[in-house]
């Protein structure tokens, strides 16, 4: 019982806080503290959201396709890279600093380059998402692989297991937690990456929609797009969380 109350209380506080923020926002608009052409009221945003919903949904579909494509690619290559780097120590020592270095390059800085090289199609967008998502996945998986108890590895070696067998039977499953921590981060990055790359041009996507409504000074629609982006990110993260739980059935009946 107390646990249930606890979880309700845990949800009550953030919801109340968000409602309070929206109330403050409405007051600012109603009392005309900020003129409506600069800051649309929450109601205007909701109206824009409802009115433009079919269009928003179509653009959201494009954005999500790109994001999922890029994310899947980075999962495949991120995990592969982590496995190879874990297996070969010299490679780890050589590549790891470079991997960290690439992370200091802002996505927004290379996005225009990618567009110049690859055009306005899907390719540069997926590549940008791949670049931003690859790092968290590779690094978190790698740290999971490397933190496996050496005694367990010794046990498997003493039973004559090959490095590949140890990877398949022990390391991969043992690093699921770290992998999903990275994937969750990458999930959020993937949507942001998609939108950023769409700002620079393209035929569809929420980023394209945003640049269009911005040029029309339709700030209510800007906000509507932002809400959709947040929602998609949240849903994606929730989805990853669900897979995380499902992939670890031994946790179900943990203490």
């Amino acid at each position: 019982m107390t646990r249930k109350y606890q979880s309700i209380a845990n949800k009550t506080y953030p919801v109340a806080f968000i409602l309070l923020l929206i109330l403050a926002w409405s007051l600012v608009c109603v009392l005309n503290i900020v003129p409506p052409y600069l800051l649309p009221s929450p109601f205007a945003v909701l109206e824009a959201l409802a009115g433009d919903f079919p269009l928003l949904a179509a653009h959201a579909g494009t954005t999500m396709t790109e994001a999922l494509f890029g994310l899947s690619l980075s999962v495949v290559f991120g995990v592969l890279t982590a496995c190879v780097m874990d297996r070969f120590e010299p490679l780890y020592l050589a590549v790891y600093p470079v991997l960290v270095l690439t992370q200091t390059i802002p996505a927004i800085a290379i996005a225009p380059l990618l567009v110049l090289w690859m055009g306005f199609g899907m390719a540069p967008k997926v590549l940008l998402i791949f670049i931003t998502c690859f790092f968290p996945i590779a690094v978190s998986t790698l740290s999971g692989l490397r933190s496996v108890d050496q005694d367990v590895i010794n046990l498997f070696r003493s039973m004559g297991a090959s490095p590949l067998q140890i990877l398949a039977r022990v390391k991969l499953k043992a690093s699921l937690d770290s992998f999903f921590a990275g994937l969750k981060l990458a999930g959020a990055y993937s949507i942001i990456g998609a939108v950023i790359s769409e700002w620079l041009g393209g035929a569809g996507g929420l980023g394209v929609y945003m640049t269009r409504v911005r040029k029309a000074y339709a700030f209510d629609k800007m906000f509507a797009a932002i809400i959709i982006i947040s929602l998609i990110s949240l849903l994606l993260m929730k989805f990853i969380e669900i897979i995380h739980k499902k992939s670890m059935p031994w946790r179900e009946n943990a203490k």
Binding site: D151, F156, S158, A174, L176, M248, W250, A254
Partner: protein
């Protein structure tokens, strides 16, 4: 059966083990007794082939197996059951590693469950078992890898006193019934006297074998052995040997 010949091992330029020779004959239950941090575990890692010694060699049935893992089962102090696998999967690991299909491995492992006191635990996860059960599961896993020769590193040190006593009794029964050859580590003098045919006493830094004490294996059939005069005699002998390390 298993023979370690003049083993010396350095670790970062300091000698951990010096000129250690150990021999275990077929069917024997031999104990390596010594204080913590004296190199017993290192010696086991060398015997099991996980670590190469700087000097000396390990022979199994006369063949040089220095630095070759996979020849004998090696049970470490922790149970090391994989938390994400069920008990039956954990125990079948050595069979699956050897290439057996999962079903076959399960069928081969299951008949041992009652003897090892694990019936009904097949589908459970390790965290649902008690400490004693986990230890027995780990022992069964080791047994399924190699039932002939087992290295056991403080198999009971993590258990409480009551569980420990029960496990020791069960352990002796099972090993003698199956004619398993075993070398095990302990720092518990009582345990060493109670369980083994022979005791090697390891002392000093670097670790050396100082004494070898032979025990009468008939002792174990006596239920009151632990409180008998003979037990006290043995204990005296062992404790004296441990103290007189300067002489070796």
């Amino acid at each position: 059966m298993l023979k370690a010949d003049h083993i010396t091992k350095y670790f970062q330029n300091s000698k951990v083990i010096e000129d250690v020779s150990v021999e275990v004959k077929s069917g024997e239950l031999v104990c390596l007794l010594g204080a913590s941090g004296i190199g017993k575990t290192t010696l086991f890692q060398i015997l099991s082939g996980l670590v190469r010694p700087e000097e000396g060699a390990v022979y199994l049935d006369g063949k040089d197996i220095t630095g070759q893992p996979g020849k004998m089962s090696y049970m470490q102090q922790k149970d090391l059951l994989l938390p994400f696998e069920t008990v039956i999967n954990n125990i079948s690991i050595p069979l699956v590693l050897a290439g057996a299909p999962k079903k076959e491995a399960h069928a081969k492992a299951l008949p041992y469950f009652s003897e090892f006191g694990l019936e009904g635990c097949e589908g459970k996860y390790p965290h649902q078992l008690s400490g004693g059960m986990r230890q027995r599961a780990a022992l069964l896993r080791a047994y399924l890898f190699s039932g002939e020769l087992m290295l056991l590193d403080e198999p009971f040190s993590a258990l409480d006193v009551m569980t420990k006593a029960a496990m020791q009794k069960w352990f002796v029964k099972i090993l003698s019934a199956r004619k398993t050859t075993a070398l095990f580590i302990t720092h518990d003098v009582d345990e060493a006297i109670l369980l083994s045919d022979r005791i090697y006493i390891m002392t000093g830094v670097p670790g050396k074998i100082c004494h070898e004490i032979k025990l009468d294996s008939d002792n174990r059939s006596d239920p009151d052995f632990l409180v008998s005069q003979r037990f006290i005699e043995c204990k005296k002998q062992v404790l004296r040997a441990q103290i007189s390390q300067g002489n070796c």
